[in-house]
């Protein structure tokens, strides 16, 4: 059954890619069907799992020995437990909704079949990532989602910017992937195995320095995939891809793989406070950086991308808090998956109505033109800024609470992040749906078709009530406890004080946003004379400039130097050597003169040589 989860979308992708044009007519429905079947299989497994008690919910399935060389054994096995289960439901559930949405969104695209094939491929790879029972197989899924992400970011191949964005995402992700491969190698060296079980069992006895290095390498991997500082720069460019892709891959699922990785490797992080501190620090930096970038973006998708970075920063931070935070990291991951997918689909719907314009300065007053989009986006908005009882409130508040339990500064960072989030989301809301219409000529905003609005409505319901359901009906803490454990640190600040304070901060952020963008007219052209901070935020906090100065330029110089060295020193040596060998060869050929008599003489000479050497040894 578990294999069917992955097999169905993989089969869909293969059918669409290999079937070629013949599948054009029905390919997208087939892809939706495969994704939906996978979802139903997931539901079935979930119900089965509910029927068992906490300790018996883990199930593994061994298929074959993937690699078996000497003492190195890697099984090809799937493993499903409570943690994988929530991911399976998120990936296939949100994935299916976005498949359905894409039917409408990609209706007029000539390459629709290819798009759906890649979406199916992504779902399959992502499921492999969360269902693998060892780190090496996880790595396969990890690379698989990276490939799907690359293919989908650069889906509009005719646009050079899309091609460049795809490449950028791929290259930046490579840096993170090196981290994962180093981690896997270190695991093999340290534990002699790369299975989750073996690593968890061996970690307490391993040298602490090894465990710390593995943790840091895993963190590097997580930074790449989840767009965390300092590998965050690709995510903003990744918005070049079609909007459903941004919603599914670059908001709800793939970018949260880093959080999954850290949570899955909790046995490592539980033992290394250094690695945990690094995780928390990275999370805190990114959550502020992403929010900061989000405040100045006029491109609605880039604004949401900044927000995604920031929210994943929350999750990473929570995961770095150890047992006190894992559950909330996953909790926030789930609620974020719902509301952020909803927000992105809403943004896609707006773009759909605005002739694919992404500049919010050309929007305004859309709440009347696109009522459903307004309502669903609004619910997502309330969820992300954390207004009770919407879903973001429950998960984010728990993270802020846990962060204060760890360290006052970390706590303040999360609190500040909440305020900035409220500001930029209010700004986005105001610029898009309120104020006066600043539409370009010839643009007639209209509501999107039902295939698009239906998934948006479902996700909006999730944004509204998902948190409540998971917290009180689903008992997410009790559900995940057997896997990641649960710990309560000594909370410096109790929730009774913290919740009002948080809400106050959110209110201030939202109010300031409303005052700046809701009450005052928004200029159609972005003002040029702005503060240094705004400029920094517009330039993605100089992430690209930094990369260029620190890596690209020195890299170019290094390449040039190497090319020089290669052509002068290495090629020179090789050229000389090969000329020498060629000369020797040409001379040696003369010995091969074709006369049997001279061959026989050579043999005789050889026999003498052999006798000579043999006798020489005796002396």
């Amino acid at each position: 059954m578990t294999a069917a989860l992955i097999g169905l979308p993989l089969f869909g992708a293969a059918t669409l890619l290999l079937g070629g044009r013949r599948t054009n007519a029905w390919g997208h429905f087939f892809a939706v069907a495969m994704s939906a079947s996978s979802f139903f299989v997931g539901i079935f497994l979930f119900i089965q799992m509910l029927g068992r008690s906490g300790e018996e919910r883990e199930a593994g399935q061994h298929f074959f020995d993937w690699i078996s060389v000497g003492t190195f054994h890697v099984p090809f096995g799937l493993h499903i437990d409570q943690l994988s289960m929530v991911f399976v439901l998120l990936i296939t559930g949100v994935g299916t909704l976005i498949h359905i949405y894409s039917i409408g969104y990609m209706e007029h695209d000539p390459n629709r079949r290819r798009f759906f094939a890649y979406l199916n491929l992504f779902v399959a790879a992502m499921l492999l990532l969360v269902l693998a029972d060892n780190y090496l197989l996880l790595y396969v899924g990890w690379e698989g989602v990276g490939l799907a992400s690359y293919l989908l970011i650069s889906f509009y191949q005719h646009k050079p910017s899309a091609a460049a964005a795809g490449k950028k995402a791929f290259i930046v992700n490579r840096v993170g992937d090196v981290g994962l491969s180093i981690a896997v190698m270190l695991m093999f060296v340290t534990f002699g195995t790369v299975t989750f079980e073996g690593v968890a069992a061996g970690a307490p006895e391993a040298a602490p320095s090894h465990v710390t290095w593995i943790g840091l390498a895993l963190l590097l991997a997580a930074c790449g995939k989840s767009a965390q500082f300092p590998l965050q720069s690709w995510l903003l460019d990744a918005m070049e891809g079609p909007t459903p892709v941004s919603a599914l891959i670059h908001a709800a699922t793939m970018v949260t793989a880093g959080v999954y990785l850290i949570t899955r490797a909790h046995a490592i992080f539980d033992l290394s406070s250094t690695a945990r501190t690094a995780v928390v620090t990275i999370g805190a930096i990114t959550l502020l950086l992403g929010a900061f970038i989000g405040t100045a973006k006029d491109d609605i998708k880039k604004g949401l991308a900044g927000s995604t970075m920031s929210q994943i920063g929350y999750m990473i931070l929570a995961a770095g808090l150890g047992p006190a935070g894992y559950v909330f990291a996953i909790f926030h991951l789930l609620t974020h998956g719902l509301f952020k997918a909803g927000l992105f689909l809403g943004a896609g719907s707006v773009m759909h109505g605005m002739n694919d314009d992404v500049n919010m300065r050309h929007y305004g007053a859309l709440r009347t033109a696109m009522k459903i989009t307004y309502a669903t986006f609004g619910l997502g908005y309330l969820a992300i800024i954390g207004v009770p009882p919407f879903s973001g409130f429950w998960s984010k508040d728990e993270i802020i609470h846990a962060a204060f339990g760890q360290n006052i500064y970390i706590g303040l960072a999360t609190l500040l992040g909440a305020g900035v989030t409220a500001f930029y989301m209010t700004r986005m809301m105001a610029m898009t749906f309120f104020g006066e219409a600043r539409w370009e000529k010839g643009v007639h905003p209209h509501e999107s078709p039902a295939t698009m609005t239906a998934p948006m409505l479902i996700l909006a319901l999730g944004s509204a009530f998902g948190g409540l359901l998971l917290m009180f009906v689903g008992d997410i803490e009790g559900w995940l406890e057997p896997i990641v454990g649960i710990g309560h640190s000594d909370h410096a600040v109790s929730n009774t004080i913290l919740i009002p304070v948080t809400l106050l901060v959110v209110l201030v952020g939202a109010g300031y946003g409303w005052m700046t963008y809701g009450r005052r007219p928004v200029p159609v052209v972005a003002p040029e004379h702005v503060s240094l901070l705004t400029r920094a935020a517009r330039a993605d906090a100089y992430g690209d400039a930094l990369n260029e100065a620190v890596f690209m330029r020195p890299g170019q110089y290094l390449t040039r130097a190497l090319v020089w060295f290669d052509s002068k020193a290495i090629d020179g040596t090789i050229g000389g050597l090969s000329a020498a060998i060629g000369g020797l060869s040409a001379r040696g050929r003369k010995l091969q003169n074709g006369y049997a008599r001279s061959y026989a003489l050579t043999m005789l000479g050889g026999a003498v040589l052999i006798a000579f050497v043999l006798l020489l040894v005796r002396l």
């Binding site: 078996s68 060389v69 090969s578 060998i581 060629g582 020797l584 060869s585 040409a586 040696g588 050929r589 010995l591 091969q592 074709g594 049997a596 061959y599 026989a600 050579t602 043999m603 000479g605 050889g606 026999a607 040589l609 052999i610 006798a611 050497v613 043999l614 006798l615 020489l616 040894v617 005796r618």
Partner: protein, 522 residues
């Protein structure tokens, strides 16, 4: 001493030699039109039967102590015909390898579709090249089915060679498989003068080397009063310091090194490889190397194993010369068959590392290398036989330019064989080289391995050059064509490709099989 003849143990050899006799009867009594089909059934059938007997022998319950057999409880380990032959695990593996190679080679020899005139052999080899007789027989479409008895005797001799346990039996086996080869080498349909020249050179030089072998055996007998390997080994423990022994070892080495094509006894190789019909070159290049190395390993592991400190330096010198000269001379070859011939010389050098190691891993890695090399060689010569123009095979390298565009499948399989010969990972060549280099390092021959790696680097050049030529060069205007062969050649190439890839990607089952077949019995 009671005379004995262990039919079961010798069945693989008896079947083949018996089939050879039967094959002559077919030549005598079956009408000419149905000879070919009868011979093909006989040859392929007897090879299959013989292989079946090898399998039966290999799965028999072991008699004796498993400790002498690598801990394995299965596999025959028996001296037959009063100790003249020995059937042991390694011998059985060599026999099996030889029969499989012979089977694939028989398919190539049976090919008669690629040349509009018929198969690879002269219509009647008794006619003078270029004569009116020759033209007539060719025009009438005669084919020479006499190659099949020769082939069967040849394979029979080869299957006996690596299991011979005394010098006399070994010499007889050597002649049994060499003489048919000399003959068949001279029977090419095209370029017959070149072919006859090759045949004569091979014969003269082969006779010269046989004389060395025989004289060496006589010297050993003079000191030890026995021909039997095991008894020689025991006798040499006492008499090892005799100069006669050293000379004898040297002369036996000359005889066997000639057969494997090691420098400085290699000069026949390019001429014979080039002149022989290509299908025969494929068989000779693969099977002779397996049989001769099998015998060389047995002689120097079993009979002279105790004297390894005396003969190792000599093999070092030969191995270094062979690897370097083979690789360096291949660089400037312009004929593809000559290039492959020099490459086979270089490979003989690599294989000598396994002899020098004189250890269980040296033996097992040599067997692995031989198996891998045999199939790659057959496949590469099979491809050579397909690239033709009006005058026959187009073997000049310049004619191979742009082959990848004309026939991607054939060029790709040839590229695979070249990569395997160069020892690139994921091909069988890498697996074999890695194993044999490891064994040599464990045997204390690190400097030799360094030379081997340098030679491999030089060799990589000329293999890669052909790949570049095939795929990245524009084809000449009046270049040769790739002929679509019959299923015989297709199967032969397909099997070679499959083996080359399989051993490259999943070597473990074969390695396990070889390791479980144990060391030579003594």
């Amino acid at each position: 001493m009671k005379n004995s003849f262990e039919y079961a143990a010798l069945a693989p050899i008896v079947v083949l030699l018996g089939a050879g006799v039967f094959s002559i009867l077919i030549e005598a009594f079956v009408p000419r039109t149905s000879r070919r089909i009868c011979q093909l059934f006989l040859v392929l059938g007897s090879l299959a039967l013989s292989f079946g007997y090898v399998l039966i022998n290999a799965t028999k319950t072991l008699v004796g102590d498993p400790a002498t057999n690598g801990g394995q409880t299965h596999g025959l380990r028996q001296f037959a015909v009063n100790g003249a032959t020995v059937i042991d695990g390694a011998g059985l593996f060599l026999q099996g390898t030889l029969i499989l190679i012979a089977f694939v080679a028989a398919l190539l020899l049976a090919e008669n579709q690629v040349d509009p005139q018929g198969d690879a052999f002269a219509a009647r080899s008794s006619t003078l090249p270029g004569s009116e007789d020759e033209r007539q027989f060719t025009a009438q479409g005669w084919t020479q089915t006499e190659i099949w008895p020769l082939f069967l005797f040849c394979v029979g001799g080869m299957v006996l060679f690596p299991v011979a346990n005394d010098f006399l039996t070994m010499f007889v086996a050597l002649e049994v498989f060499s003489l048919p080869l000399y003959l068949m080498a001279g029977m090419a349909r095209r370029r017959r003068l070149l072919s006859q020249e090759a045949s004569l050179k091979y014969f003269v030089l082969g006779a010269f080397s046989s004389a060395f072998f025989l004289f060496g055996s006589a010297l050993i007998y003079a000191v030890t009063a026995t021909m039997n390997f095991g008894q020689v080994s025991i006798a040499l423990e006492n008499a090892g310091q005799d100069t006669l022994v050293i000379t004898g070892i040297g002369m036996i080495a000359v005889g066997l090194l000639f057969k494997v094509g090691a420098v400085p006894f290699h000069q026949w190789t390019p001429d014979v490889y080039q002149g022989s019909p290509t299908a025969l070159t494929a068989f000779m290049g693969a099977a002779t190397k397996v049989a001769a190395f099998g015998a060389l390993l047995r002689v120097f592991y079993v009979a002279f194993g105790g004297m390894r400190w005396d003969w190792r330096p000599m093999f070092w010198v030969v191995a270094i010369l062979t690897m370097l000269i083979g690789s360096i001379l291949a660089v400037t070859q312009t004929d593809i068959k000559r290039m492959l011939a020099f490459s086979s010389i270089a490979h003989a050098g690599f294989l000598l590392l396994g002899v020098i190691a004189t250890s269980a891993s040296g033996l097992s890695s040599s067997l692995l290398y031989l198996f891998a090399y045999g199939f790659t060689t057959i496949g590469s010569f099979a491809v050579v036989s397909l690239v033709r123009d009006a005058a026959g095979e187009a073997t000049h390298l310049s004619q191979w330019a742009g082959l990848g565009k004309k026939s991607p499948v054939v060029a790709t399989s040839f590229a695979l064989f070249l990569l395997a010969l160069a020892g690139i990972p994921l091909t069988s060549g890498f697996t074999g080289k890695f194993a044999i280099f490891t064994a040599a390092i464990d045997g204390g021959a690190t400097p030799l391995v360094i030379v081997a790696v340098i030679a491999s680097a030089i060799a990589a050049f000329f293999y890669a050059r052909v790949i570049v030529l095939m795929f990245f060069t524009e084809p000449p205007v009046d270049g040769p064509n790739v002929v679509i062969p019959s299923w015989f050649t297709k199967i032969a190439i397909g099997v070679s490709v499959a083996v080359t890839l399989l051993i490259g990607v999943f070597p473990q089952p074969l390695i396990d099989l070889i390791v479980s077949s144990g060391i030579f019995a003594s």
